[in-house]
Structure formats: C-alpha cells, structure tokens
C-alpha cells in the first residue's frame, strides 16, 4: 500500500515519522494532532494523502450535516445552537466553517467563530475555520478530507457551514449526508434566485429568524415550491417525479423512497426550533439508512473523490509539462502574436500523453 502511494506521488518526500505521529495522535484523541492534520490537508503538505488515506479505516461513524444559506441568514448562530444542543445530549461535535478568501491577496478574514460562543471553552466542540484558497475543486476535497479527520478523531456529529453561492459551495455541502438550507424570511425574490441551485440540494429547509415579518409567507412559498416542483433532484429517480408525485402530499405516508424536505422554523438566537431541526436531521439519517440512499450517496461521493484526485494529479503533470516547454506565458504570447491558437497548443501538449495511454495494453489493476 505504502509503496503504491510512493509510486503515484513521486514529488512527495514523505516525512514518515511525522505523519505516523500525527495519525496515532489523532486516533488517540489529541486535539493538536487533529488541528495539525487539518492544516496538512489544507496545505496539501507532503504526506497528507497517505495520512488521510490511512484514516479511512476509522471513518464512517459520524453524521455529517451541511448548513448553507445566504450571508446573514443566521448560519453560524444556528450551528452554534445545534452544537450546544448536541453537547447537552452528550455527543461530540466537529464544525468546519468556510468563508471566502480574497481573489486578489488570497487572504481571508474568517469570522464565524465569533458567533459560536455557546460552547466556547468546551474542547469537545472542535471548530475549524477554512478559507477557499482558490484551487480547482480544491476546497471541496479539503473539506471532505477534514471531515474524515474529524470522523476518525471520533466526533459524533460534524457540521459543515458555508455560504451558499456558486457551484463550489454546492460541491462542498454535497460532502454532507444531510443538507440544511437556510432561507431568511421575506426573501420572496431570494427564493426565486435560490431555486436554480441551492434549493435542489436541500434535505431540510430552515426558515430562520421566524419571528420576523414575512416568515409565514416564506414558509408558504417554500411549501408551494416543494409541492409543485419535483422535489430534491439530488436523488435522481425519474419514476417518482412525474406529475403524480404531487399527490403524495395528500396522504401522509408517501412512498418510503421519497424524501420530502421538511420546513423547520427556527429562531436561532433563542434556540427556538433547534430540537425540531435535530429531529428532522435524525429522520433524514434514518431515511438514508432505510432506503439505501445513504449508501448510494456514499458511493457517489467516493467516485467524485477519485475523479477529483485524478484531475488534480493530471493537472499537476500538465503544469510540469508546461514548464518543460517553456512556460505558459510563452505560449500565451504566441497566441497573442497570432502565431498559433490555444486549441493547437492543447492538442500538441496532450499528444504524447495520449500516445502513452494508447501504448498501455492492459488496464491498471486495482488490488
């Protein structure tokens, strides 16, 4: 196993001792080892892949919950209350709070910790702030790996919190088993804009700040949309999405394979509705287990992980190749000067790779 890894990662000079020490520290419950492991994941430090890979055996016990919604919807406050409630019930919690980074300086101010004051001083709530460091699909991989580290550490519940804007964000929350989308009251227009992307990934809708004007209306609008729409398109099962699916709202016992996202009203600042929300999370977890949907999601996630890793590695190889032929700037100038075009360059650069792959007469075997 180790040799295989070394073969696939020629650039990694693996500091074996350090990685082993981190791994055993993390599994023994050392907070600092967990923190350092997540840093390694974020930095893609040498050896991090072996580290995460070796943790896989110890994962799979945590419930992973994604919380997303527009800025100011109350995500951090709600996550704080969720953590507090889980702690009261004797469960340990890991939180990954993701904030955007500046596309110009690469810097970031990660402020979600400020809202997470209820559990401060309690080391069994492990809060980690992460920023999007602007790599291709990198953040969702890093998030998924950080979740694995927390899972292996022994956290019962892991909450991923992120602003729901854009594909990257949707990829991130998809690393969760259950996704809660926060919709602030009175955001009639916002609901419209949400429709296209984020609404489709919701397993649970949360109308936070439910004491504000317009909360009832927002609930009503969501309800209408759920009934009219074809439900969460996350589980693609065209059989259930015909016009007939509207009728399932009439009789209480809908087909067990169909999950209708419930709408929970909360006032996160006062903790109102948090218990109900946790009950819905649990119901969704049961649903995932009972219908086999959970296994399906897990497999899909692993497939995506494999793809992402391959893409990253190939990307790296191609960057090296670019450097070898004189760097991207040179090529860009050639295009700007009208001497060639991007398609020709891409074709030429890829040709040896294609030739190489063509020469492999047997497909690689996986142990």
């Amino acid at each position: 196993m180790t040799e295989n890894d070394a073969a696939t990662e020629p650039t990694e000079s693996a500091p074996t001792d350090e990685i082993d020490a981190l791994r055993s520290g993390l599994l023994a419950g050392d907070h600092r080892a967990l923190a350092r492991t997540i840093s390694k994941i974020e930095d893609r430090a040498p050896g991090y892949r072996r580290l995460v890979g070796s943790l896989f055996d110890h994962t799979g016990t945590a419930d992973v919950i994604g919380v997303t919604g527009s800025p100011g919807a109350g995500k951090s406050t709600l996550v704080d209350k969720l953590a507090e409630t889980y702690r009261d019930r004797g469960e340990t919690v890991g939180i990954i709070a993701i904030d955007p980074s500046s596309p110009f300086s690469g810097g970031a101010v990660l402020g979600d910790r400020i809202r997470m004051a209820s559990t401060v001083g309690d080391m069994d709530v492990f809060v980690r702030s992460m920023s999007a460091r602007g790599t291709l699909g990198g953040l969702s991989t890093a998030t998924a790996d950080a979740v694995k580290a927390m899972d292996a550490f022994g956290k019962d519940k892991i909450i991923i919190e992120t602003v729901g804007a854009g594909q990257n964000e949707i990829d991130i929350v998809r690393t969760a088993d259950t996704v809660a989308v926060l919709v602030p009251p009175g955001s009639g227009d916002a609901v419209q804009t949400l429709k296209a992307g984020i609404l489709e990934i919701a397993d649970v809708f949360v109308v936070n700040k439910a004491d504000r004007d317009g909360a009832d209306r927002t609930v009503q609008e969501l309800l209408e949309m759920i009934e009219l729409g074809d439900g969460p398109s996350f589980s693609v099962d065209p059989g259930h999405h015909g016009p007939g699916s509207v009728e399932t709202s009439d009789d209480g016992d809908a087909e067990p394979s169909e999950w209708r996202p419930p709408i929970v009203e909360t006032i996160a600042t006062d903790g109102v509705g948090v218990d109900e929300l946790i009950d819905e999370f649990a119901a969704h977890a049961d649903h995932l287990r009972d219908t086999g949907e959970g296994d399906k999601r897990t497999r899909r996630r692993h497939a995506e992980e494999i793809r992402t890793l391959l893409r990253e590695d190939l990307h790296g190889l191609l960057e090296d190749e670019l450097d070898r032929v004189g760097g991207i700037d040179e090529l860009a100038s050639a295009v700007a000067g009208g001497r060639t075009d991007p398609y020709t360059i891409a074709g030429e650069l890829l040709e040896p790779v294609e030739t190489c792959l063509g020469q492999l007469d047997e497909s690689p075997t996986i142990e």
């Binding site: 907070h31 990660l110 920023s131």
Partner: protein, 138 residues
C-alpha cells in the same frame, strides 16, 4: 493572484481578551493581515484566556496576535501562554501583543514567551513584515 499554488498560507488569530471593548486596532490589523494574504481568524470581543487558547489550538494558527488596551496584560497574557504550553502549542506559535504596554512591563511579557510587542504608532508594514519573517516553519 496566489491561485497557482495550493501551498501554505500563514494563519493568524487576532484576539481580544478580557474586559476591553476597544477593537478598532484589532480590526485594522485583521484587515491588513488579510490584505497581506494571510488567513485571519478574528476572535471577537471579551474572550477569556482559555477561549483564546482553544481557538489557537483548534485553528492551528502560526501567529497569535493579542490586542490589549485595558492594562490587564500582566494577568491575561501569561494565562494564555500557560494554556498554549499545556497543549504543546507554545513553541511553534508566534505570539504578538499589540496595544498600550508600559515599558516596564515589556520584559516580563517577553519572558513569558511573547515574541514582539507593537505599541501605538507602529506601522502596518512593520507588523506584517515581522510576521512574514518570523512565522514559524512547520
């Protein structure tokens, strides 16, 4: 743009500790660090020393910047240092103090493990430069 490499980014915790509501300086520093390309975690106001320690350990920061203008530094800073020590984090965290620190207290804080003290009038460049040069290699 720093997008070409996934590489390391300097992580800083900017912390306000104790009963001190003056956070303009902390905000300015947080913003300056962000613009310098660091990842900044801001603690918010009125934290206990153990809360700062918890955040520093969990976030695995390279740099801990403590902003104090209340005069309670002789009590609060050693408590934070002791907490970091407890988690084995004191050695590879660069601890800075910003604010109003009388000259006679400086050596005491430095003995406790503070790497640098930035008083009123310190330029942003100086602080950022110090962090760049002294952020621990890990």
């Amino acid at each position: 743009m720093s997008t070409e490499s996934a590489g390391r980014s300097i992580r800083c915790l900017v912390a306000k500790v104790g009963l001190d509501g003056h956070d303009r300086g902390a905000h300015v520093i947080a913003r300056a660090f962000r613009d310098a390309g660091f990842e900044v975690i801001y603690s918010g106001l009125h934290n206990a020393p153990e809360e700062i320690v918890q955040a520093a350990v969990q976030e695995d920061v390279d740099v801990l910047g403590i902003s104090i203008l209340s005069g309670a530094h002789n009590t609060l800073v050693p408590k934070i240092m002791a907490g970091l020590e407890e988690y084995g984090a004191a050695d590879d965290t660069l601890v800075l103090v910003g604010g109003v620190i009388p000259d006679e207290d400086r050596s005491k804080l430095e003995d406790a493990g503070v790497s640098a003290i930035f008083g009123p009038g310190t330029s942003i460049e100086e602080t950022v430069g110090f962090v760049r040069e002294n952020a621990p290699e890990r």
